[in-house]
Symmetry: C2
Subunit: 415 residues, 2 copies
């Protein structure tokens, strides 16, 4: 299996060499060809997906996981559209990041170049397959896709279609390759193929990400776990606060930018806690609260530290009253996963203190945590949301899938 992964990486490196010198027009033509082929191949994809779903159901997979695995005409059309939208974005490769003529006459420029070979390790969401391949292709890199075994047939169908479209455009099919998920070890070999793979991105639950971070010798970008907080300040507009809490918690519960924890300043607790408890209950949310929340009229269950540390990804929220913004910040620093924290306040001082006191990828002031998203922030495409500080932090688009090189031109300059 190790040999298989390494051979795939070597073929990917050769393909990446071609992509690196392929211009935007050709890459965009390939992306449109891929999108057309995905739509044309919908029945093939759905047949393969049906087999995956049947096998997963037979294995007792829960319904919410089946739902992420399941494709239909609309979902295939949606990811084909996603591929087309990547074609519409500017090419990051070749951008001159900085440049100058140095005092000694050397001409220096730092130029954006492709990453090379990118490994994706992800769970049973076949839409990631097309998304990731499109973004890597546009950014000039080859991609090795190691999805979940539960989606292996769906991924194989999608990848075969994309590879054929590459070949038809005159680009190397090996720019997009599937790494077999038959054997668990293939993921390990991928993340340890140092020198053959330039970057590994895990996408999935906390367990997957933790495993990749601990075992990888290839540089990793950690994505996604979001224990996001909404802090309702003493100076909050409470109607606005209610809207934001409800939206952040209930708009979509299974995503990393959903709110998982609510902090309320004690000065507004008397008024706000009963209102928010009633509204969340009506929306079907279970509140895991401190003593003040538990005393409210509603089915609140007592919160433990485990609740405060939890990324529920469900209709659950932990909740706590704090004495001050300082206590809120201390709580966030203790429990946050560094994804997104929101403050609702009318106070400029409070918003400034919150912004400097929080150490997360994104900070929302009077806005829902749900806006931490490449599409919402105008990046056009997103391969994941980084919760680490190195290379990329927050939503990652095409630019984040590139690196740079220094090109220095002289006339025989020596030191």
């Amino acid at each position: 299996m190790k040999q298989q992964v390494h051979d795939a990486a070597r073929r990917a490196r050769v393909a990446a060499g071609t992509l690196a010198v392929t211009n935007r027009a050709t890459k965009d033509a390939a992306l449109h060809a891929i999108a057309d082929a995905l739509v044309a191949g919908t029945q093939t994809i759905l047949a393969a997906n049906g087999a995956d779903v049947d096998a997963a159901r037979a294995a007792g997979t829960p319904e919410n996981v089946l739902d992420r695995l399941r494709l239909d005409d609309d979902r295939v059309a949606a990811f084909a559209d996603g591929v087309r939208s990547v074609a519409g974005l500017p090419d990051p490769v070749g951008e001159v990041v900085r440049g100058s003529t140095l005092p000694n006459g050397l001409r220096m420029r730092q130029v954006r170049v492709p990453m090379g070979v990118i490994g994706m390790i992800y769970e049973g969401r076949p839409n990631v397959t097309a998304d990731a391949a499109a973004i890597c292709l546009k950014a000039g890199s080859a991609v090795l896709l190691r999805g979940s075994s539960s989606a292996a047939r769906s991924n194989a169908a999608i990848i075969a279609i994309m590879r054929d479209a590459l070949t038809a455009t005159g680009l190397p099919a090996d720019a997009i390759q599937q790494i077999s998920a038959d054997d668990r070890s293939s993921a390990t070999h991928l993340m340890q193929a140092r020198g053959l793979v330039d970057l590994v991105i895990p996408r999935g639950g906390a367990g997957l990400i933790q495993a990749v971070v601990e075992q990888s010798t290839v540089p990793v970008i950690e994505t996604g776990v979001g224990n996001c907080h909404v802090y309702v300040d003493a100076a909050a507009d409470l109607d606005m606060a209610l809207d934001i809490v409800l939206n952040a918690k209930t708009h979509r519960t299974s995503v990393c930018n959903a709110a998982e924890s609510l902090l309320v300043h004690q000065e507004v607790a008397d008024v706000f806690v009963p209102r928010v408890v009633a509204a969340l209950q009506e929306a079907g949310v279970t509140i895991h609260g401190d003593a003040t929340f538990c005393a409210a009229d509603g089915a609140v269950v007592p919160a433990t530290d485990e609740d405060y540390a939890q990324e529920y990804l469900s209709l659950d929220i932990s909740a706590k009253v704090v004495d001050s913004i300082d206590e809120a910040l201390a709580h966030i620093r203790q429990f946050s996963s560094g994804h997104t924290e929101a403050i609702v306040t009318g106070s400029l001082a409070a918003s400034t203190q919150f912004t400097t006191g929080v150490d997360s990828a994104a900070i929302m002031i009077n806005a829902s945590t749900r806006f931490t998203d490449g599409g919402e922030l105008g990046f056009g495409a997103e391969i994941g949301i980084s919760t680490q500080k190195l290379h990329a932090r927050g939503p990652m688009g095409l630019t984040e899938m590139t690196t740079t090189t220094f090109v220095v031109t002289g006339d025989g300059h020596v030191r």
Copy 2:
């Protein structure tokens, strides 16, 4: 030891919280206080360093390693000057990297913020201690310095002086801490203190860097190994080529941007090989060459693949004649460590092909490999040269020691 490292990291986190909200004027005042204190404390530093050097000599340490360990008045003055020059550089913290008002009225800005807690793992060069501390401080991060046990007394003296200067400026001394090198395991605990340490930078030989890369669970920036090539093209000015080869190889041999391998196009081999062999020999360089080089009139020893893969860091160079620029590029792709490659050519087509065909942190066109250096490229300070593609590639200055956060401001925006 693990507890000790973790406690130090926690104290560093608290100190980093203060640094993050410290303005440039205060940080620069601290840097000047540190520089003054280092000069004033020269005798203390030299006494500690003398003890380190004596112990290392008694342990049979080779002279070139002793030379890197040894300090004198000039060297202390030089690193104090380095600290002052960091004070003179702009503050990277607070820079708005991008910002816009989104169609829905949300105000988005991506702001540069400190990394947090940075771990440095390095060998017996006490000058790194002051350099790294100054750069991290200016970039708003706390630093944990894990130097070599051979330099422990020197580092302790330097760090004590810097910490006192911080306290005198009203900044937390724990922003600069020494991690004991008494126990080998302290380095392991530092690189595995995930969640407590944001970034680890190894500086030293290939063995140290490899160990950190393989064992670290904290994100790492790989620095420094440089198997740098000079390719003399068919269209090269051969006088210029001779100057560049000699400079790149002999200007300073122990540094990562020195040339370690010479490739010569066969069209100019008849003329150039004898000239370069004679010149390198006169400069005391041993050539490890292919058959053509071995046939030249001079003491050339036959090269193996090990030679081509070698970072000599000495008066040695591997050398080979290639049939074409394609063969040169293939050779570089096979053996390069991704640091710096130079081409000497008068051909625009050759320089373009070289630039797109090489996958390294820096590419020199008609200039010595020795220019891959933060000081030479005008960055003012350098904490190392990254040979990986993630986060930073090439010389790293203050900007590369920061991360960013997205601050999004709304008026009650929900999705």
